[in-house]
Amino acid sequence: MSKGNKVQKTIIYAEDDLDIARLVKFKLEREEFKVTHFPDGEGVIEAIIETIPDIVLLDVMMPLRDGISILRDIRANPKTVSIPTIILSAKGQESDVVKGLGDGATDYLTKPFAPSELVARVNKAISWQFLQ
């Protein structure tokens, strides 16, 4: 999909808080992203391998599968290893952030969060990816 000459960036977003997920999706879609949302951890890694999105957003605590184990799978697969992945979590202790970044997250955002900041970080992560 494209709008004008601009290629629409794709995002896979896993979040079990549906209210927040809809708001984040709304905000990102306003910024011309194409967002595919998953309400739990099931099927997320398969979708990432199949579609190779421009960026992945993961909540940590989700039913069926947690975000950190999905992140590890992303980094373990040569096809997906370089996809920027942002963790968006209520677990905001220093040790949680260090663990998330240590497992290969591109960025770590703690809840409560400002949606505009999330959009800015998504844009930054994608830009860095292109620069590399």
Binding site: D17, D19, I20, R22, L23, F26, R30, K111, P112, F113, A114, P115, S116, E117
Partner: protein
Amino acid sequence: MIGKFFNQGALWTTTMAVLALLFVVGMLILYCFFLRFVSNSSKKKQFKLYAGWEKMVFQYLEGEKTTQEIMALVPRARYAYFQHFLKSYLLALKGDDFEKLSALVTNTDLFSCLIDQLVHGDEQVRSESAFFIGLVRARQAKEHLIRGLEDKDEGVYFNCALSLAKIGAIDTLGIILGQFRIRKKPSRDLLLSILFEFGTDACQPLLWYLKGEPDAFSISLIVDALGHYRYYPAGEEILCILDATPGYDVRINCIRAVGKIEYLGAMPSLRECMNDADWRVRSLAIWALGRIGDDSVEEELVVYLGDENWWVRYRAAEALFSLSRKGREALSVIAQHSKNKKAASVTRILLTDMKVGG
């Protein structure tokens, strides 16, 4: 004849009992269906309402709708639903979007509704209202929340105090502590969560209150909070309490606090506590010395590797390990060559734990 009559009578009674039972079960099943129907229709109604509000509120956050336009969609009878709808967003967001959502409550009729609910007959309504006022950081509700502290219900008191902490009303700390003291069933976690919500701003007034606090339970909690924030100026006062109080709970909290604060002046008192008859006091004093001390306490700690209590021995080994390289070397020697089996055993466990834990 009599036997036959008796059998018929018993059969009739049993049949009637079974029928009555079936009737009751049938009624219960019907009642369950009715409840499910009511619940489903209520959820459908709620879902429909929320879907309509969601679209408008998202546009409001983008600056495409005004507060008045949103509130025109929400009749007063639906305020409770709207409050519930906003709650998850207010909990998860910060920044401009949070401020906008907060304004949707504080600058509209919804706010006066929340204030009215603070004196509602149902304590659940009062409690939720108090919580919500804090959630939207409605500073203008301060006086109402202070009145709510006197509520007979624990939940209302707690949420009023928590909301006062959220709006940063540090001057109400004395009233919160006073009300806490006269509660019938004070909860430790309850007051601590309020004190933590105030943040480090509470340290200075807490120290002031600690000096005049008569209640041992409150002293323990204040000391715990000051230790949590590692508020160094409180070290001297906590030490005075530790030296003057025989009560176990207060002493334990004082030792933990001076340990967390790493208050150097506490070394002599902690040395005395290492000789306490209670193993819990001994182990905690050793833990605190491990944080504050230097290599001058190493010899004393080695003695406690042979303490009668396992946990005291472990804490002593842990303290030696964290104090210095010399302490770690001493532990290696003890693990391999000590004739004291207790000391050698606990030292080996500690060294293995430290290798596993990194």
